[in-house]
Symmetry: C2
Subunit: 340 residues, 2 copies
Amino acid sequence: MNLKQLAELLGLSQTTVSRALNGYPEVGQATRERILKAAEETGYRPNAAARRLATGRAGSIGLVMPAAPDYYADIHFAEFLSGLGEEAARQDFHFVLMPKKPGEEEDALRWLAASGSVDGVYLAYMQENDPRIPLMHSLDMPFLIHGRSIGVAEDYPFLDVDNEAAFRDATHLLLELGHRRLALLNGPDGLDFTIRRRKGVEAALSAKGLVLDPAQVHHTAMTDEFGFRGMRQLLEQETPPTAVLCASTVLALGAIRAVNQAGLRLGRDISLIAHDDVLPLLKPEDFSVPLTTTRSSLRAAGVRIGQRLIDRIKGVETGPEQELWKAELIVRSSTGAAPR
Amino acid sequence: MNLKQLAELLGLSQTTVSRALNGYPEVGQATRERILKAAEETGYRPNAAARRLATGRAGSIGLVMPAAPDYYADIHFAEFLSGLGEEAARQDFHFVLMPKKPGEEEDALRWLAASGSVDGVYLAYMQENDPRIPLMHSLDMPFLIHGRSIGVAEDYPFLDVDNEAAFRDATHLLLELGHRRLALLNGPDGLDFTIRRRKGVEAALSAKGLVLDPAQVHHTAMTDEFGFRGMRQLLEQETPPTAVLCASTVLALGAIRAVNQAGLRLGRDISLIAHDDVLPLLKPEDFSVPLTTTRSSLRAAGVRIGQRLIDRIKGVETGPEQELWKAELIVRSSTGAAPR
């Protein structure tokens, strides 16, 4: 049974049948139900290529992937992409992926829009005042942003985790445990989520009349190596911090190696809280001292962004444009009372 | 300076200038050199879209990405893709990436070839007697395979690591150290590299008149969780192995957690060798007991496959079609003499 045969059986045009099966809004409810029922009874599975020919849509999401000789494979990006891919496969969408060096993203987005090869674009790694948001508004193509951009006044559709609240809550816990000398192993400087996490730490400290010493904040790529080096530097200071917040469990992996090498006991001599993107490779409960974390699944964000972006492409998104997820604070053994 | 202006300056057609700058063979050497010199002197940087219009080539590599709700983000895939992306960005190629469930790969490849949206295809995760090789031969589109397929008689272009030799050498080292009860935590059953690694272990054992007990071989996804469970099962046996080979440092991460929980000392009570894909996240020298490994960089393979596939697309590949890399055996502290 192909699309043509199914349309003939129903006495409808191929375009109508295809639109109904793909969930586009132009087809009335009664007709849609009749078509879905017939498709089910005949075991019809729409062919992706035929579907695209019938609808004139590529079924395609465009995205820009960071790429450079010094750019590390990013397990965070891979985990997000596997969620986005799960939803894209379910809805028979594919990706057009542009590997680009930093600074070339805007050209890549213009090309994606001009090429006609994609129906919508996913954007991430937002910076402060990110120029890609006004650019996307000018390109007249559906888009959805993972994250936000501090300083951009106009509205735009996004899904973000409340990074500021997550790190404020985490810092609050450390203050309650008596810690006063805090440090932050943060992500790359200038990224929106990095800025918001630092603001969260500052807000909690400020409520106690404290300030975050800039010397106790490191901005690096979120790799195990930078976690190790960052923590080693922090511990080499004359009065090292008693508690450290890490922007990723990957940074924490290296940081904890430095803690062990310094002969300190995690959760007793020094406390640590990491942000957990729920990477299957690095479960915080499996660390030899289980980690206290702020948790929000990157994979779930990928699935949700896939659903919303495809809905936007089809013109059927009904929910709010702006979605903010709360991270959970999960207390395990890597946090304890401040040493006296 | 745009393409049109550069062509006018040289008194040549835009097509000729564009072809020369993109390395296509139709342009004579003297003309090419004249064009490259002028491009350099005028600071001309070709615009990707203009380039594609002039050459009629999309500048695009197609690939199929495994995707399913139960499919883990694969750090191995991400690391490979970052190498492929590095080379694609350098040569201004993009990817068309089809997220597909297992069993849908052939349809996805047919669609990629029919859509005209890609110039060539990259294939991986080869199985024994993989049907995608005859399919690709029938599709008349440049392709390159990462890995090989045991049982396929016809020739095909590939880049592979000599997995059999790597695991034969590793097993040989363990035998020299006096180990006789060996186990293998291998990758998923039926994959070509998994089969070749097992054959490598069997070949080394066979040279000593020994056989690999099927009960001592586990086939799983290469995650930390399966490494942990696999090693725990091995250690719960009445006479557990004294040495274990792991198909990835990710499996080793979990396996070593099980070794530690059993109160065994790595490199003394039990030896372990892992295959190291040079994942920046998991450096074998950074494990608390540094790991003995067979090493071959997935990222370097990505870069090399990008170069070769783009050369094939341009019709300028000159080297051999089949490239086999040797893995290095690097001895660190996780291997030691068999306990008496």
